[in-house]
């Protein structure tokens, strides 16, 4: 699903990371850990195809099968959850879009607020909607950067259950709380 060999990334003269090897099969969870500023987010952006590596070899799947959640939920704040998910559902050509959107909004407990503007949501609710967006097209490769950010206990538990149900998918997950996903991890990458 994902292969990177001797990957490096620099911004000008600043080295972000060097000699990173990643290999992820069709099913498995790569847990990425490290302190702030160690390069986790940059690595995830490279693996998502959002940034080009400065060196090394990288084999990425087609972007149609990738789901990416960054530090922001990546949804339009002046649109409603339904409008956001229909927009991305169209762009990803999700079959049975309405039904799939309804199911995700129910799962992440956003159905009741489906017609309210996202700008009125708390950060945690926005994060839940961001997760709905990422899962909408049932991606084969999920790249999640601090997905537990801003989630309350109930939201975090929902994400735990969702991740456990995605055991047949490839997942790259960066977090400051590795204990939470450690039981699901099949590979680990620690930045110093």
């Amino acid at each position: 699903m994902l292969r990177a060999h001797n990957l490096s990334k620099r911004f000008g003269y600043k080295r972000i990371f060097d000699h990173v090897d990643v290999e992820l099969e069709a099913a498995g969870l790569l847990l990425v850990t490290g302190p702030n500023g160690s390069g986790k987010t940059t690595l995830l952006r490279v693996l998502a195809g959002l940034a080009a590596p400065s060196g090394g070899e990288l084999e990425l799947p087609d972007r149609a099968v990738v789901g990416y959640l960054g530090h922001e939920p990546l949804v339009y704040r002046e649109l409603t959850p339904l409008e956001n998910l229909h927009l991305f559902g169209k762009l990803y050509r999700v079959p049975g879009r309405g039904e799939r959107i309804g199911m995700l909004l129910e799962r992440f407990e956003l159905w009741k607020v489906r017609d309210e503007r996202v700008s009125t949501f708390s950060r945690g609710m926005q994060q839940r909607l961001g997760l709905c967006r990422v899962l909408l097209h049932e991606p084969e490769l999920l790249i999640l950067d601090e997905p537990f950010n801003a989630l309350d206990a109930a939201g975090a538990a929902l994400l735990d259950a969702t991740l456990a149900g995605l055991a047949d998918r490839a997942i790259v997950l960066a977090t400051h709380d590795p204990d939470r996903v450690e039981p699901l991890a099949t590979a680990r990458l620690a930045f110093a």
Binding site: A51, L74, Y76, L91
Partner: protein, 212 residues
């Protein structure tokens, strides 16, 4: 068909965002009316029509610049360009949709600006209207591309005018020429400008939004 469907969905999103926020069009309307009013009182009576047309085109270009500075604000402030770029649709669809939205905003501003110009200065002929319509296409296509370039830069408020204004000089030349001269050669020049820059912008947008 997929391409058209993607462009439709993205354009609808941009128009819906403007309907909700009302950030761009009211500002453009206020700006163009204020500019024409200032010009009306600033220039002496009896100024010839060519000079007045020059002021119209100056007002239109700066009104467009005002709209373009806001064109990518939702994508910039909420990091949404990442989400759009990752979608499996052709990336140029983002540019086409944004250009169509900018074109619509310009159209609304000009529906007010041209009658205001006629009231303050001189009647507007069909050649001026045709030149404005053709210029809008060039402004929207080039402006959207330069707007996307500026989004990637830290000094975006500075970069956009620096990129857009030099590229808009041929539009002013063609626009004033078509309005004042009355010949069709300037309209043909605007058609050529639109075709060349629309093609270049469409082909290069993919590289503009790709992070190095």
């Amino acid at each position: 068909m997929r391409y058209v469907s993607d462009v439709g969905a993205l354009t609808r999103k941009d128009l819906l965002l403007e309907l909700r926020t009302k950030e761009v069009v009211p500002a453009m309307l206020l700006f163009v009316l204020s500019a024409l009013t200032i010009f009306h009182f600033a220039i002496p009576r009896g100024t010839n029509q060519t000079a007045a047309l020059g002021l119209l085109w100056t007002a239109l270009i700066f009104t467009a610049l005002l709209g373009l500075t806001r064109a990518f604000v939702p994508e910039r402030e909420q990091g949404l360009l990442d989400a759009l770029v990752l979608a499996p649709s052709d990336r140029s669809a983002i540019w086409v949709a944004k250009s169509l939205a900018v074109l619509a905003f310009l159209g609304v501003a000009e529906v007010v600006a041209l009658p205001a110009f006629a009231a303050f200065f001189a009647p507007v002929g069909w050649r001026t209207v045709a030149a404005v319509l053709l210029a809008d296409v060039g402004i929207a296509t080039v402006g959207t591309l330069t707007g996307a370039m500026a989004v990637a830069s830290r000094a975006r408020e500075l970069i956009l005018p620096l990129l857009f204004l030099p590229l808009s000089i041929p539009i002013v030349v063609g626009g004033v020429g078509a309005s004042a001269d009355g010949g069709t050669k300037y309209l043909a020049f605007l058609v050529l400008y639109d075709a060349v820059f629309a093609l270049l912008s469409w082909a290069s947008f993919e590289y503009v939004v790709a992070e190095a």
